[in-house]
Every structure is written in structure tokens, then in C-alpha cells.
Symmetry: C2
Subunit: 271 residues, 2 copies
């Protein structure tokens, strides 16, 4: 089982093009995980802009066009602007000549300083040792989640009713997360955490696949070593669409990343 670094490794072709090898381990069911795909594109953006003084992904917004397959893929990066405090690029993940994911990525230099002002106190959740680690094969999940072998995802029992057929319906899931390879979180791996599994729809009693249409994530500062706390909420569900909002705090309790996504879901017919 490869590390995060290995699973997102690239080989430069030149002219902003990179060969990637998409690793099926970073999947939910048979689909590659969206946050993992953004990490691959984020690494391509960083390598493409190397030397410009903007080493970290600070914003990524992506349209998920067509699910890529595990295996070889091409990451293409086009620079839109390199400025004093940031660089903006477009990055596409291509297979068989078709764009599967396309993103705009903003690069900048992050530090680990505390916020000047914040409204984002860490979500209350049970201590890590009192949480339940999500398995690859969860009873009732309907599909294996290989991602759970590379992300240690310890779910707060407070919001775990869905796993026992009694979802609370509050639209909140909270968890502690670590990389199973033992490495510390960084701006690229945080992109994986910004697309949390399971989707919050399960907690609303809606089973099934919830494909991401659009996801935007911001990395706000370099995380302290140690586990992260992740809170996933929904704001509004209707018209076969759901939004999911993710907040991620580091071990010092500081907001390190946030995301919003629009996803498709098949709601149950009215009874």
C-alpha cells in the first residue's frame, strides 16, 4: 500500500504536462476519490509553478466532468497569472484525450501563524480514542471504501446513528482523521480531507452514491502535526442536489481548511 506521496507522484513531461498514475486504493466503491484527484492536480500545479515563490495550494475549485479510471493519466497545467503574492493556474486531468476533472488553482505561501480573527472554533466532538474507525467494508455501506485503508477516519459516535439504521437527521458528521502512512497533513493531503467520506446524506437517511459536481476548497494555514478534526454539514437539500460544507481544524484547534461542494443525489420518492 503506497503512501500519499507515492499515490500522488508525478513525472514531468515539460510544458506544464505531468504523467500521473491514479491509484485505485484512493477510491470509494469503484470511483476514485474526488479529493485525491484534486491532490494530484494540486501537486501538478505546485510543480509547474516551482520557483515562483508560491509553494502551497491555497484555493482549488474543480468541475468533475467524467470519472477517471485508475491508471495512467495526464495532468496539464496552464498558467493564468503569476503575481507577487499568488499564482493562478488552470489544471486538467485527462485520460483518453478527454478532460475528466478541470480545476482552477491558486498558489501562495502559507505559514502556520494563528488567525487574526476567527469565528471557526473547533466543532465539539468526542475524544479521538472514543471514536469509531470507519472500516473498508462497513456493514450496510453497500460498497467497499478502499480509501478507508489509507485515511484513518474515526467517526464521532454522536453522529453515528446512520450506521445502525437510525440516522439523527441533523446533517452533521464529525471525525478525527490521520494519514495511515504516518505522515503529517500538508496542504495537498488536506484536499483529501476536504471531500469527506461518508457523505452527510447518509446522516440524513438518504442512501446511495452522491457524485460531486463542483468542489471548492481553501487551505488557510499550514497544519500543526497530529490528527485533524473534520466537520461535514449540509445546508440545503432539494431538486436532486445537496451541498456539503467541510471545515478542518488542526491539532492546535485552528481552522486549516474549508470547502463547499455541490453534489447530485437521488432523493427517495415522497411516501
Amino acid at each position: 500500500m503506497g503512501t500519499f506521496q507515492e499515490a500522488t507522484a508525478l513525472t514531468a513531461r515539460g510544458d506544464g504536462e505531468f504523467d500521473a498514475l491514479l491509484d485505485a486504493q484512493w477510491s470509494v466503491g469503484t470511483r476514485l476519490h474526488g479529493g485525491y484527484l484534486l491532490a494530484v492536480l494540486g501537486r501538478a500545479a505546485c510543480e509547474s509553478a516551482a520557483g515562483a515563490g508560491h509553494p502551497h495550494v491555497t484555493a482549488v475549485s474543480a468541475s468533475f466532468v467524467e470519472p477517471p479510471e485508475p491508471g495512467a493519466a495526464l495532468a496539464q497545467v496552464e498558467t493564468l497569472r503569476v503575481g507577487r503574492s499568488l499564482a493562478q493556474v488552470r489544471a486538467a486531468l485527462v485520460q483518453e484525450g478527454r478532460t475528466r476533472v478541470e480545476a482552477h488553482i491558486t498558489l501562495s505561501r502559507l505559514d502556520g501563524s494563528d488567525p487574526w480573527w476567527t469565528a471557526a472554533e473547533p466543532a465539539p466532538m468526542a475524544p479521538e480514542e472514543a471514536c469509531f474507525q470507519a472500516p473498508v467494508d462497513a456493514p450496510g455501506a453497500g460498497m467497499p471504501v478502499p480509501l478507508m485503508a489509507v485515511i484513518e477516519n474515526r467517526l464521532d459516535p454522536e453522529n453515528l446513528g446512520f450506521a445502525f439504521g437510525t440516522p439523527a437527521g441533523r446533517g452533521v458528521l464529525t471525525s478525527w482523521q490521520r494519514l495511515a502512512d504516518g505522515s503529517d497533513w500538508d496542504p495537498l493531503s488536506l484536499l483529501v480531507a476536504l471531500d469527506p467520506v461518508p457523505p452527510v446524506s447518509l446522516e440524513l437517511g438518504v442512501p446511495g452514491w452522491v457524485p460531486t459536481i463542483q468542489l471548492t476548497g481553501y487551505v488557510r494555514r499550514l497544519p500543526a502535526p497530529g490528527p485533524i478534526r473534520v466537520r461535514l454539514t449540509a445546508t440545503d437539500v432539494g431538486g436532486d442536489r445537496m451541498d456539503e460544507v467541510a471545515h478542518v481544524w488542526d491539532d492546535k484547534g485552528r481552522l486549516v481548511a474549508q470547502a463547499t461542494q455541490l453534489a447530485a443525489l437521488r432523493l427517495p420518492a415522497p411516501q
Copy 2:
């Protein structure tokens, strides 16, 4: 003074290209308003995909690369995918051969139905008639805001301390908004409302210009006729970056749009 429809009108060149005339009325200081620029791109996306059965902008994510000038501009739309329930395009606003704003836009068909589930009850705010309409030339604003002549923006007195030099520092601004031309809100004009003016930084006691780096908005349903309620909040401020989160409710109290943006701001030096 033109209507919203006129200010965002396009002339098709063919091949996904449209001529736009950017209207200085839709400005903050001397800069064209970001939400207005997204509305122009959104209209180009809709016209480009006309006939595909996806008439409404449901998601837009944009990188603001370089401020465009009022006057002629070219909107270029490239289709990424047209599917059964949505279409995904890339749209760029170009002047002098340089991309000024580039966005990914998802089109779909919205309706006016109620949510299946929501956590987004309308923000509490004073009745519209008890709110203060923001003028074009506000004392202490440091710049005229021509946008305030085309958007009637009635600010809740609860959060208006900043206008009198006593910001509450809660990171919240709430307002009622109407289009001054008397037309009802639609998915395109809601993009203007998703980039609220003034920025919430004023309410945190931080003066000055707050340029948007990245903005992502979702339109969730067709709004009912009448005014909208807008709540703008900040989550975390630090490292010369601020996020702003906007929620918009229609006159029936339903969430109709939401957005998140990352903006640059110059924080005061520590004292």
C-alpha cells in the same frame, strides 16, 4: 441608467464567443463588481448552451486574474460536457487578449420547489422598512460605490455600527436587496447578490479594498418574486486572507443561493 438585462447583454459572434459591453455603473470604486462580471459570464454560458435543456446557472467558480476595465470585452465559452441533467462549461472574460476572469459554470434546470431538507433558516434581520439603504457616496467609505444605484441594498441597523466608527466585530452583515430596475431576481442576477458589498471586513474594523481572489456560488432554486435577504459572514481572517460566506433567501424564506470567496486584505499592523 441601464437595467440588469441591458448591462449584461451580449452579441453572439459564433463558436462560443460573445461581445459584451462592461458597464461602469456596476462598480465598487473604480473596479467592476465581481458578481456582475460573473453574471456576464453566466449569461454567455447560458446562451452558448441554449437548446441543451439546461437553462440556468447552478454553479459558478471563478478565478479573478486581472481587473477588467469598463467597455468592450470578449466572453469565450468552451463546453466541457453536456449531460442529461447538467452541462459544464469553462468561460473566460478577455480584454486586450488577456484573460481577466475565468470560471467554470454548471448549467442545469432549476425549479421553484421547496427544499426536501434545510438547515438554512433565514437569518434574523430587521424588517426591510427599518433598514438603511446604502448610498452611492457613503460617508467614510473612502470611495463611491456606483453599484448602489442599481442594487437597492438595505442594511440591517443591527450590524451597521461600522458606518459610525463602532464596528461590532461579529463578522456578520445582513441586508435586504432589490434590483433598482424593478425586475425580479433570477439565477443570473443572484450572482451579483452573492458577492455582497460592503465586505464583511468593514464590520471587523478593517478598512480598505478587499479584492476577490476566488469565488464559488451555487444557485439552488428559482427565487420567488420580491426582495431577497442576504447574510454575509467571515469564518477566518489571517495571513492577509479572509473568507466570506454568503447566503441568500427569497421572499418565501427559502435558501436560493450560497457562495464562498477567498479575498485578499491588508490587516492593520499589530499595535
